[in-house]
């Protein structure tokens, strides 16, 4: 059993300190310095897989390093298994970490690398050997045990790094962008292996990435961060279905969600959005949520995912768009369009449209289901979400 609790965690770098890879541009500054992580709150259940995701410089790695004990926690409290960990040395926190750069010990063989944490804990030799062999078996690196890290490929090195982390059976396994240094194909493969690995070892995971695909596929829950502030915490489905603001909406999903300028019209209890002269009524569910919040008519940003848009000829629902570029992807076509000077992408299934040619400058008509769109106010907040997290 190992649970984690992060309470009001803050990281403040003094202003005079130069931090190489942190850009402070959008971070909040206080009298004490730059707020790299601002009031981070999260309860992690036993054996949960949490993914921290966000663009570079958003504070996700800093948060992870504070959990690891590599960075001091400026404010707030960190509990592992209900024990306050703020001032405990990394080695006494019973955590393990996998680094982006693998951080293998170059002078040791793979076996020695994996034995190292166990030796430091003065474990009996036979037991060490058993555990290392087991972990190597799981990760498929048995045949490389006597090689030095420099004789391994990137993917193999990352397996060794994971092996070194799991032999100890830590309470919490931290992973800091472990797949970023691998090429695309290997990354997909390793991602699948991490999912498999998870079912074989019982531990709590915290995984940092800037890649939303990794976040969506791996996480039980995703924490989306921006400029040191948590934007949304939820399951992959939740953050996909109801992003709380424009940032989350744009960050989750590939290709990115389209944003169009429109208007929210209120007519009694009914809500409509107007886009490019076409009025579409929102789904009853959304209407109920907005009515409960007392949302008034206003200028809004309408968010529609490319996969939720479709070509149409239905009267009254045809939204005009101009084609910029089309990309044939085999199973579908990515059509880059322009609606009132706003650029967007829509995905058109090739089935039934295989002979369809999208020429530059051509006018097309599209529509979307009212249930799958998102309406954001001028501040970028989702109008149907009750309150900010």
């Amino acid at each position: 059993m190992s649970t984690l609790e992060l309470k009001h965690i803050c990281k403040i770098y003094p202003n005079n300190e130069k931090k190489g890879h942190h850009k402070h541009n959008n971070l909040k500054t206080t009298d004490e310095g730059v707020l790299a992580v601002d009031d981070f709150n999260l309860e992690i259940k036993d054996k949960e897989f949490i993914v921290l995701v966000g663009p570079s410089g958003c504070g996700k790695s800093t948060t992870l390093r504070m959990v690891a004990g590599l960075e001091e926690i400026t404010k707030g409290e960190l509990y592992i298994d209900n024990k306050l960990m703020n001032d405990i040395e990394p080695k006494d926190r019973d955590i393990a970490m996998v680094f982006q750069s693998y951080a293998l010990y170059p002078h040791m063989t793979v076996r020695q690398n994996m034995e190292f944490p166990l030796k430091l804990r003065k474990m009996p030799k036979e037991e060490i050997k058993k555990k290392v062999d087991e972990a190597a078996e799981i990760l498929g690196i048995t045949e490389y045990l006597d090689r030095k890290p420099k004789a391994l490929s990137g993917g193999q090195r990352q397996r060794v790094a994971i092996g070194r982390a799991i032999v100890r059976e830590p309470k919490v396994l931290l992973m800091d962008e472990p797949l970023s240094n691998l090429d695309a194909k290997l990354r997909n493969q390793m991602r699948a292996e991490i999912i498999k690995l998870r079912s074989r070892i019982d531990t709590t995971f915290i995984y940092v990435t800037h890649d939303q695909t990794e976040a969506m596929t791996l996480g039980d829950r995703i924490v989306i961060m921006k400029d040191g502030v948590v934007q949304q915490i939820g399951t992959p489905q939740q953050v996909y279905d109801t992003p709380v603001n424009l940032f989350v909406a744009g960050f989750i999903g590939v290709p990115m969600m389209n944003f169009f300028d429109g208007e929210l019209i209120k007519d009694g209890m009914k809500y409509y959005v107007e886009l490019n002269g076409v009025k579409i009524e929102l789904s009853p569910e959304k209407e109920a949520k907005m009515a409960a919040k007392g949302v008034e008519a206003q200028k809004v940003t309408i968010g529609v995912r490319p996969e939720h848009m479709e070509l149409t000829q239905r009267e009254g629902q045809m939204i005009q768009a101009t084609v910029d570029v089309s990309e044939m992807m085999g199973s579908h076509i990515n059509v880059h369009i322009r609606v009132q000077e706003k650029e967007g992408v829509m995905i058109v299934d090739t089935q039934g449209n295989s002979n369809r040619n999208f020429r530059m400058g051509e006018t097309i008509q599209f529509t979307f289901e009212p249930a799958v769109i998102h309406v954001f106010d001028a501040e970028g907040k989702n109008l149907e979400v009750k309150k900010e997290l």
Binding site: P90, K91, A96, S101, A103, L104, Y105
Partner: protein, 279 residues
């Protein structure tokens, strides 16, 4: 094309062979002169020993017996080994510390170390010998401290340069794996820094072994002499110069350095290559 390369190769090899012979000649001249009698060393220094001029091990006997060369070899080895060991241990720790702990005073230490490399020895040597006297460092134990001070500049410069190239994640991984700072240093950082230890070790060994002025100024010469001082003493202050003994002493002084070089040759070349091509 192939033909031309071959021809160039032959010319190059011949040239380099002559260069090598030219280079090593002085050593051989000293070697064969060490087996000749005094007169012929002075009159025909380039001639090989003949039946008349050959004196066997006599010069070596004189160098060892009369001038106490063996004792000075002992002291030189003692001073060199322990000074280099002290420099390697303390300077690597210092280099690691001032790279990883960034405060104004670690920066100061680094700048001071660099500064000490710029100041010529001749500028500080008289004050140094005075201070050494005051602190009673005029023995082979005390001089180790003096060497540590003078060697630190270059050593710390080289160690900091190398530590900067070690990714900090490796040390962080060690900390998470359960290392204390000392364990991190000795079990992780030291093995990674091996090439730098060897380069610094070789440089400092060559310097301390061959150094004349510093021990001459600092050591109590009545009790302790290093090899270079003994050879200087052989020249005598009354005009009589025992060239035979000098030649023998030079050869004896050379042997340990040659052995040292041959045994470290692999690492010297490796060290140079490691610096040149980043693998």
């Amino acid at each position: 094309m192939h033909e031309k390369n071959k021809k160039n190769g032959i010319i190059g090899s011949t040239f380099l062979t002559f260069l090598c012979i030219f280079w090593i000649m002085p050593v051989f001249i000293v070697l064969w002169n060490s087996f000749k009698n005094k007169n012929s060393i002075n009159l025909q220094p380039f001639q090989l020993p003949s039946n008349e001029t050959f004196v066997g091990w006599e010069n070596y006997g004189a160098a060892i017996g009369k001038y106490g060369l063996l004792q000075s070899v002992g002291w030189t080895v003692f001073i060199t080994v322990f000074s280099v060991a002290a420099i390697l241990l303390f300077c690597s720790m210092c280099g690691w510390f001032i790279t990883r702990v960034k405060t104004w005073w670690t920066k100061m230490i680094y700048v001071l170390c660099l500064f000490s490399m710029v100041v010529p020895f001749q500028m500080v040597m008289y004050t140094l010998s005075l201070v050494a006297n005051m602190l009673q460092l005029t023995n082979p134990f005390g001089i180790i401290i003096v060497y540590l001070g003078f060697g630190a500049g270059l050593a710390i410069f080289m160690f900091t340069g190398f530590v900067r190239s070690i990714p900090i994640e490796i040390e962080e991984a060690a900390m998470i794996d359960g290392c204390t700072p000392l364990q991190t240093f000795f079990r992780i950082v030291v093995p990674i820094m091996k090439p730098t230890y060897i380069s610094v070790g070789i440089l400092e060994t060559m310097w301390i072994w061959n150094d004349f002025l510093l021990p001459y100024l600092v050591l109590d010469l009545k009790k302790y002499k290093t090899i270079s001082i003994v050879i200087q003493y052989m020249k005598g202050s009354y005009g009589s110069v025992d060239m035979g003994a000098i030649m023998a002493a030079l050869i004896l002084a050379l042997i340990p350095v040659v052995i040292f070089y041959l045994s470290c040759q692999k690492y010297i070349i490796k060290g140079v290559a490691a610096g040149a091509v980043k693998g």
